[in-house]
Subunit: 432 residues, 2 copies
């Protein structure tokens, strides 16, 4: 049985998991590939740093030169985060004739076109199962298993950190700030959680899935996004009264040939699969013209689940499936037909609207007047007497009938300019 050399760049959480699986499940790897997989090069930024895993002496190097020079090693696994030096390393590896496997979603979302072009130029492949949704094999499912389908929609919980925070707010009634601290304490959120909580991380992953499933060429920064830091425990409680749970949803909707993309907290009906996704789990709900509804749920991050996705890519690359898929899909290429992007303001849904207004006579007439003028009609209405400050501002919550995002935005803007409005209003889509 011949041996296949693997080069690993990056020995953080996921890199350690990959090394562990290659070593601990070596016999399984032999069965899955017909070869012995040999971890031949491990490249790290700091060779002096203590590691969670014991590797053969001499295996770890501080630069990629030995890996680049080893022409027998044709498979490189890039598990370095951020854009640089990840981009330069990726280009050097491809140029040196190595098939690439990466989990770096930011790299693909920013430099997909450049990297995929370089790979095609050098006859190499790029596999990136681990870049979206951790252990859920959503990339292979969308690029291979659903090949018979024209997809029409996708809704995903693609960020485990925010789902963990929302679960704490829902189950323990915690404030956003308290829940965030707990997430940081448990290692689910980073010291600077901005990219997670403002929806940027989910938008990067959505850009990749939208490209894969719909042919969209969307720059992730152009995807409209609202984070979860605007939510209060009140919203969680009101949503519950309306039979819903609030989740950070990354969504793609194909309507009349154009694709609407967005990331926003949204109300999801209790009992629907997405509503029941708890803790740091990720999930993807898809709709295809042949398959109908399809739903996936799994661990969205962590050493072993993400490594499971990386190693599946290693196996696919060793046996040749990855190259077939790579060559057929023409990802990030001019040869792939692009779907036009929709103006998100023209998309329609029901909305959850939370207003904070003075508790005066006539206020309700003003509010409903503005909504009516924007052709927004109210399906249900909740108002609670303020418990702590009688005479103070009151919270009004409405569920609307179907309206356009543009109408909802305009109405909210008008309401926020009223002198009776004492805090910024919140407007969230409600999923069907």
């Amino acid at each position: 049985m011949s041996s296949i050399r693997i080069g690993l760049i990056g020995l953080g959480t996921v890199g350690t998991g990959v090394a562990r699986i290659l070593i601990e499940n070596a016999e399984l790897m032999r069965r899955q590939t017909g070869h012995t997989l040999e971890l031949r090069h491990v490249v790290v930024g700091d060779t002096a740093k203590a590691r969670q895993i014991e590797l053969a002496p001499g295996l770890i190097r501080g630069d990629i030169e030995a890996l680049i020079a080893d022409t027998e090693c044709r498979i490189a696994v890039l598990l370095v985060g951020g854009l640089e030096p990840a981009r330069s390393i990726a280009l050097r590896l491809l140029t040196a004739g190595k098939d690439l496997i990466t989990a770096n979603k930011a790299l693909l979302a920013e430099h997909g076109t450049e990297l995929f072009e370089a790979a095609r130029l050098h006859g190499r492949s790029i596999a990136f199962e681990a870049s979206v949704a951790g252990g859920i094999p959503i990339i292979t499912n969308m690029s291979q298993c659903l090949s018979a389908n024209q997809l029409s929609g996708l809704s995903g919980i693609l960020n485990g950190t925010t789902n963990f925070i929302l679960t704490c707010m829902d189950e323990k009634g915690q404030d956003y700030g308290v829940a965030l601290k707990e997430a940081q304490h448990l290692g689910y959120a980073e010291a600077d959680p901005t990219m997670d909580v403002d929806g940027s991380d989910a938008a990067q992953k959505l850009a990749i899935l939208a490209h894969l499933g719909f042919g969209a060429r969307a720059y992730w920064k152009d995807i409209p996004r609202l984070g979860i830091d605007c939510l209060s425990p009140l919203d969680i409680a009101f949503a519950r009264e309306l039979g819903c749970r609030i989740k950070l949803i990354a969504s793609a909707r194909l309507d009349q040939g154009s694709l609407a993309l967005g990331v926003s907290p949204a109300l999801v009906r209790l009992g629907s699969p997405l509503a029941e996704v708890r803790q740091a789990f990720n999930a993807v709900a898809l709709h295809g013209d042949a398959v109908g509804q399809l739903f996936y749920q799994g661990q969205g991050a962590g050493e072993k689940p993400t490594a499971s996705a990386v190693v599946a890519d290693i196996v696919d690359t060793v046996v040749g499936r990855a190259q077939i898929t790579f060559n057929l899909l023409q990802l990030w290429s001019e040869n792939r037909p692009a779907v036009p992007l929709a103006d998100l303001s023209q998309t329609k849904s029901r909305f959850y609207i939370r207003l904070t207004v003075a508790d005066n006579p006539g206020v309700l007439a003003v509010i409903t007047g503005i909504l009516g003028a924007h052709l927004i009609s109210i399906a249900s209405f909740l108002q609670k007497e303020p418990a702590d400050s009688p005479g103070g501002p009151v919270t009004l919550v409405m569920m609307t009938h179907v309206a356009s995002q543009a109408a909802a935005n305009a109405a909210i803007k008008a309401i926020d300019q009223l002198p009776i409005t004492s805090a910024r209003s919140l407007c969230l889509p409600v999923m069907d």
Copy 2:
């Protein structure tokens, strides 16, 4: 762009769906494969029968001779149910040098060894995504996407008919018989529903998944199975009081190197993904050592969802992925290491026990005495006064602590032999 000839045997529900996708999504097929897929032969049992689809004149034949003789047609899609003539046709197709795609689970469960041996002998592949769980691509996920994992457990809702019936019983409070009639009326159940409701269909699918995911060589008839016809609306209601829903679960559990397989109605906790699977949907929950928990839900049957799986196999076969996977996995081969099967009676779980006994003084002491003698301790206990026949038999329901299946069986047998027992007792496992 070159053209690839496809032969289709069987033009029932799924066959019609496959033909529709190949024709209606022709452009998508070209993008996915790099070839034009040409439906060149359609073989049916009765050429005079009216069809739901219009095909080019001369395409439909009453025998496979033209397909066999067409050496340019290397891909045959066998969508004929039952064992014969499906088995003979499959062997002829393989011998004639055609790669095979099939949705026939019974054929694989009965004749997998013979068919896979014939395929290997003739250098051909067999793909069978559609044989289990309809539109859920569980075969590809288990044989490819989870290649880094040693699986430790699988729980599946693999039969849509029974899940539809259980949903009716749960949501509408219907009797089993009434719900079955509704399922038959809506086309979810066949005139003779035996294979569905007694767990045989689920056992055939479980045998395939257990072979694929765990290397088990289990003949489906040897898998212990209990059907749903033993359930009464009382059980559904009692389960609800215990915070659970009853689902027909096909399960595989690896414990200390041996695999326990079984099909049985089981209590599943409300809020867990499997409990929320409604109507005719199928679902699979997996546990792998790297990926952790992974959950899939989708349409388990129907023209288009099942055709989605078949066409994904066609694409994989056209582009060469199916052959790679087929050659590596050594399915139904002596070369694949086999896991020993566990004695199911030694497996442990909590149990739901429903007894029907005379409402006499001392009865409870006798029952609890028998359970105690078998080392079964009771976690919770429900008894309702009989509304319709005072003094008549009374229903007792218990949830036990963890006990072995053997102990539960022995205790139930002893209780069923008591003169105070007036109807057969029911004992169902409770899922963690």
